[in-house]
């Protein structure tokens, strides 16, 4: 929240290094954590992890998680949770696949329709939370179960008894909107890169990395947009205020209800975006899509410095939080550690990353 514009000097202010000023921002701890994790893998993991293809490989799941985490982070800053986003992925995936495969709609209709339905679900979540004053934790938890259950039932209806709906890839073949939501961007660039030798190639000459997976671009774009909104728009100020102290914000004239409902809609739409991307990529959807993703998104946001109690956090923090999480989850496969230790490793790395981040911040800013 520090807008570093100093107006007058004051003898009551000691000198403060540039680093220390930077570290006061919530996201910069997460960057320290990300650097630590990167260093760790640089020393322990197979070199392949940090080749271009290796980076794309761990960035793809990180980006899918990150899109959710950005939404979750904004909602958390606004003082609420949404535990239904994982189920929303399955639900939106079902709706989208059903639109495309069962109803045969083109993407230009199917995608807005899916988003509209997701927005409706988000509004419902938000409206119940605000109307009743119940904690969003418990309300969205109910929707976690309900949406996942509906996805299962819906899938069975749409497929006559299977839990997997497929054929999406064929159905959208050649649709002009497809490259926006699926596959790799800038293939020409990478093909050229392969020719001139910047991009590694397979034996047959095709580039090892055919392009940048679109989810990574979405992830970056969303992070930038969310950061802009949070730090540079009135709406961003309202998000911080609503989460910081709901009564105080509302007494100061912030339209808290509108802000919170729009945030619920945003998280639902983030989940839908992930659903569309994964369904198009996989060509199918099933009832288990997005399982536990709500928690991973919250984890990423918290690693990135968001407070669970609301009112504090950043989108860039969530960005790096997702990357840390994605890197740790995939990174173990590049190391020689016994895979049985996977969870110990995951937990240990998470702990070390946040401890380090915390330690650095305290050291630098002189807090006690």
């Amino acid at each position: 929240m520090a807008d570093t514009t100093h107006i007058a000097k004051d003898e009551r202010i000691g000198t403060e290094s540039f680093v220390s000023r930077l570290m006061k921002r919530p996201e910069l701890g997460a960057i320290a954590g990300a650097i630590l994790v990167t260093l760790f893998f640089l020393f322990t993991a197979d070199g392949a992890m940090f080749t271009l293809s290796g980076v794309m490989n761990f960035m793809t799941p990180a980006a899918q998680l990150g899109i959710l985490a950005i939404g979750a982070a904004l909602l958390m800053i606004g003082g609420e949770f949404d535990l239904s986003i994982g189920s929303m992925i399955a639900f939106a995936g079902l709706i989208f696949a059903a639109c495309v495969v069962t109803l045969g709609l083109p993407l230009i209709i199917a995608i807005p329709a899916t988003f509209a339905l997701a927005a409706l679900a988000g509004t419902l979540n938000g409206a119940i939370v605000l109307k009743t004053g119940l904690p969003s934790f418990i309300v969205t938890l109910a929707f976690l179960f309900i949406l996942r259950g509906i996805s299962l039932v819906g899938l069975k209806l749409a497929t006559d008894g299977s839990t997997q709906l497929r054929g999406v890839r064929d159905a959208v073949e050649g649709d002009f909107l497809r490259p926006l939501f699926s596959g790799d961007a800038f293939p020409g660039l990478f093909a050229w890169g392969a020719q001139v030798g910047i991009v590694e190639t397979f034996a047959n000459g095709s580039p090892k990395v055919p392009g940048i997976p679109v989810e990574i671009l979405w992830f970056i774009a969303l992070t930038l947009a969310a950061t802009w909104v949070l730090l540079r728009t009135p709406y961003g100020n309202w998000i911080f205020a609503s989460g910081g102290d709901r009564a105080a914000a509302s007494n100061s004239g912030v339209p808290v209800r509108r802000v919170k409902i729009s945030l619920f809609v945003l998280t639902a739409c983030c989940a839908t975006l992930v659903a569309i991307i994964t369904v198009l990529d996989a060509g199918s959807t099933d009832a288990r899509r997005g399982f536990m993703k709500e928690f991973e998104a919250i984890i990423a946001a918290v690693i990135g410095g968001c407070l669970l109690t609301g009112g504090y956090g950043s989108a860039i923090g969530a960005f790096f939080g997702s990357i840390i999480f994605g890197m740790v989850v995939i990174g173990l496969s590049y190391t020689d550690f016994d895979q049985d230790w996977f969870q110990v490793f995951l937990g240990g790395m998470l702990l070390i990353a946040v401890l380090f981040n915390n330690y650095i911040r305290k050291r630098v800013t002189g807090e006690r």
């Binding site: 299962l152 997997q164 099933d286 009832a287 288990r288 899509r289 995939i330 190391t335």
Partner: protein, 286 residues
Amino acid sequence: QNIVVVTHGQANDPFWSVVKNGVDKAAADTGATVEYRAPETFDMVAMSQLIDAAVNQEPDGLVVSIPDADALRPAIERAVAAGIPVISMNSGSDVSADFGALLHVGQDEFDAGRIAGEALAEMGGTTAICVNQEVGNVSLDLRCEGFTEGFGGTVEVVPTANDPAQVEATVTAALQSNPEIDTIMGLGAALVGEPSIAAVEAVGRAGEVMIGTFDLSPGFLEAVSAGTAAFGIDQQQYLQGYLPVVFLAMNANFGLVPGGNVPSGPNLVTQDEAAMVVELSAQGIR
């Protein structure tokens, strides 16, 4: 009649949804009232409580899977003591008779894994990964164990989560860091098999790495018939759901019961049959 089926597989698990379809078909065919119950996660304590709940309603027959003999023993013995005919299915063939079950329909996870391992070793595999999406789930762990024994070569168990993107990235990572790997064994077709195919393509080793998986999914079967994947193991779990219910209905009506266990699999679906099976798989029958 009133028959209850209690298993350890969730209704949204692709494998178990086929079992449930078998159960539903049997219910329709026999006219019996059949209820399918399962705990929300792999949870033996919860499963034994579901069995107790079933026994309290004194049904005319009970079908159970037995992934943990110790944990489920008291509940099953209580059912038998209460005079309810019990048939075990899927797992637990070794203890089924001890507990007083009439018979067992199914195939042991360990045996299925062993057969898959033997098949892949025969096809020339030497270094394999067994991709497990739910480490700690005993029935999945057993598949990997059996596979390790049957395969004979080096096998590493790779843990992942219930997320295709993550599975793909993890398998890619494993392939990138260890070029020796020439065999991938997945424990689920849609969740692990299909992303593994994508991963192999991503590292440019399509055709060099053999991919086998438990269970079937249409997408995977298409890959099998196209030759990019080796085989899917079909336990014919539709039968595991269908037969016990039919047997118990027969038993309730006429006192008829088969004289021994029914092995439902394993059945390797390879390139030749894959194309035929795709449609059935899409309908949740195989």
